[in-house]
């Protein structure tokens, strides 16, 4: 499994295809959303967590479209399928490499977000970081599964957002709520219910993806 993860990361390191795209979409979303608020209003600070999550969601959804592109050339997927690992393992490997890409993008987005929106840095930002991690796991889990599904359709660029966005709404809502409270200086305990919900989502998403992935690529 780690060999497969290593292969994906190495490919990305050499080609640098996914990460810049992920990041640029995130930055563009932040920029556009910044235009949509009146900078003079106090509302701007309130809207900031939502802007961050919209940017993260769009970056993830569009970035995942690339997850299986490398496998498409030269029937590379066939080669991986022939290797002596189970389908579930292939899924987990792909998920982990997608997650790593996403986490790198997350870190840069958070930095840019603090810069653009003048976020006050308080000690309680742990729950914010935790919610970002949980959301990324869920996004990577369902994103990998449905990216493989969308690959098999005729309109894969359109299909992936259509499939993924309605399904990940709990992560989005949870992320916004946790971030709002975290930035308002509330301690970790008050956001626990939302974090539990997101963690539950992640567990379900990973298990379901691990079981169902087999049916996506078997033909």
């Amino acid at each position: 499994m780690w060999e497969l993860v290593k292969k994906d990361l190495l490919l990305e390191w050499r080609a640098r295809e996914i990460l810049p795209a992920l990041l640029l979409i995130g930055v563009l979303s932040l920029l556009i959303l910044n235009f949509s608020f009146d900078p003079g209003l106090p509302l701007r600070r309130e809207a900031a967590p939502r802007a961050f999550w919209v940017a993260l969601l769009f970056a993830a959804v569009y970035g995942f479209g690339r997850a299986f592109v490398a496998e498409q050339y030269n029937d590379a997927l066939q080669g991986i399928l022939l290797s002596p690992v189970s389908r579930g393992t292939i899924y987990l490997a792909k998920m982990v490499s997608t997650l790593i890409h996403l986490l790198v993008a997350d870190v840069m987005l958070i930095a840019l977000f603090i810069l653009f929106f003048d976020v006050p840095l308080r000690i309680h930002c742990w729950s914010w970081l935790l919610s970002t991690l949980l959301a990324s796991i869920g996004l990577a889990a369902l994103g990998t599964l449905f990216s493989a599904v969308a690959m098999g359709t005729r309109a894969r660029e359109v299909m992936l957002p259509l499939l993924l966005i309605p399904l990940v709404i709990p992560l989005f809502l949870g992320g916004v709520q946790v971030t709002e409270r975290s930035l308002a200086g509330q301690p970790l305990g008050l956001t626990a219910t939302w974090l539990h919900l997101m963690a539950t989502f992640d567990v379900v998403a990973v298990v379901v993806g691990w079981i169902l992935f087999e049916y996506v690529i078997d033909y």
Binding site: R154, P166, L167, I169, P170, V208, L212, Y215
Partner: protein, 235 residues
């Protein structure tokens, strides 16, 4: 080679008949029998369709989820055809829910739409299953499309409780602008309860009859495609 056309089963005709009769009864009850709501007036009568439609929508998507799971497990196209037909009807019923709701909400709440938890969940549900139908249309290989759709059918069904929970929390944390009053709790008059029950039975029977029809139609389509392929290979 081609199986002869089966005569329509007797119970199927019976189902159609009963569904039609209860539907007439339901419409009669809604317009003639049931008393008008004192506070809400005539527009409240749309509840007798709106609430059963919503319940039948859940039944439909439930059947889709079960059919999807059985299809992946048993690899029998029959289950996929059931799931497919049920999802189509579910989207139809869900659309009707989303249409009848605003018609009621405009005079009572003063707005067509609010981002109330129940409304939001219904809209998300609709989006998931529209994507389910699109997924089938956008795949070239029908068997692959069936497998993809089954995956979404299962993930969607598992996701809905989490979506529902999150949307509720999201709304209960913010002050609710409008208090939702759903049909079940507000109907104290036994005549109203009876009307709701009749309408529910009517719509449920209608759903099962349509499901049967659509399933056999999808089955015939699959058979036709197979026959065409066989003929092409022969020529």
């Amino acid at each position: 080679m081609i199986p002869p056309r089966k005569p329509r089963a007797i119970w199927e005709r019976f189902l159609a008949l009963v569904a039609g009769a209860t539907m007439v009864m339901a419409i009669g009850a809604i317009f003639l029998y049931v008393p008008t709501d004192r506070v809400q007036g005539v527009v409240q009568r749309i509840f007798y369709f709106h609430v059963p439609l919503a319940i039948v929508t859940f039944v439909a998507f439930g059947i889709t989820a079960v059919g999807s799971a059985f299809y992946l497990w048993r690899n029998d196209p029959k289950w996929d055809q059931r799931a497919h037909a049920s999802a189509e009807l579910g989207v139809l019923f869900c659309t009707l829910v989303l249409i009848t709701g605003p018609i009621w909400a405009k005079p009572i709440w003063g707005t067509w739409w609010t981002w109330d938890a129940r409304l939001t969940t219904t809209l998300i549900l609709w989006l998931i299953y529209v994507a389910y139908l699109m997924l089938r249309n956008l795949t070239s290989d029908p068997e692959q499309g069936a497998r993809y759709a089954a995956i979404l059918g299962i993930v969607g069904a598992l996701d809905i409780p989490i979506i529902n929970r999150s949307v509720y929390w999201w709304r209960t944390i913010h002050p609710a602008v409008l208090v939702t009053r759903e049909g079940g709790t507000g109907l104290t008059d036994p005549r109203m309860q009876l009307t709701l029950l009749v309408a529910f039975v009517a719509l449920l029977l209608l759903f099962f009859w349509l499901l049967k029809l659509r399933t056999s139609q999808v089955q015939l389509e699959a058979q036709l495609a197979e026959t065409e392929r066989a003929l092409l290979q022969m020529s």
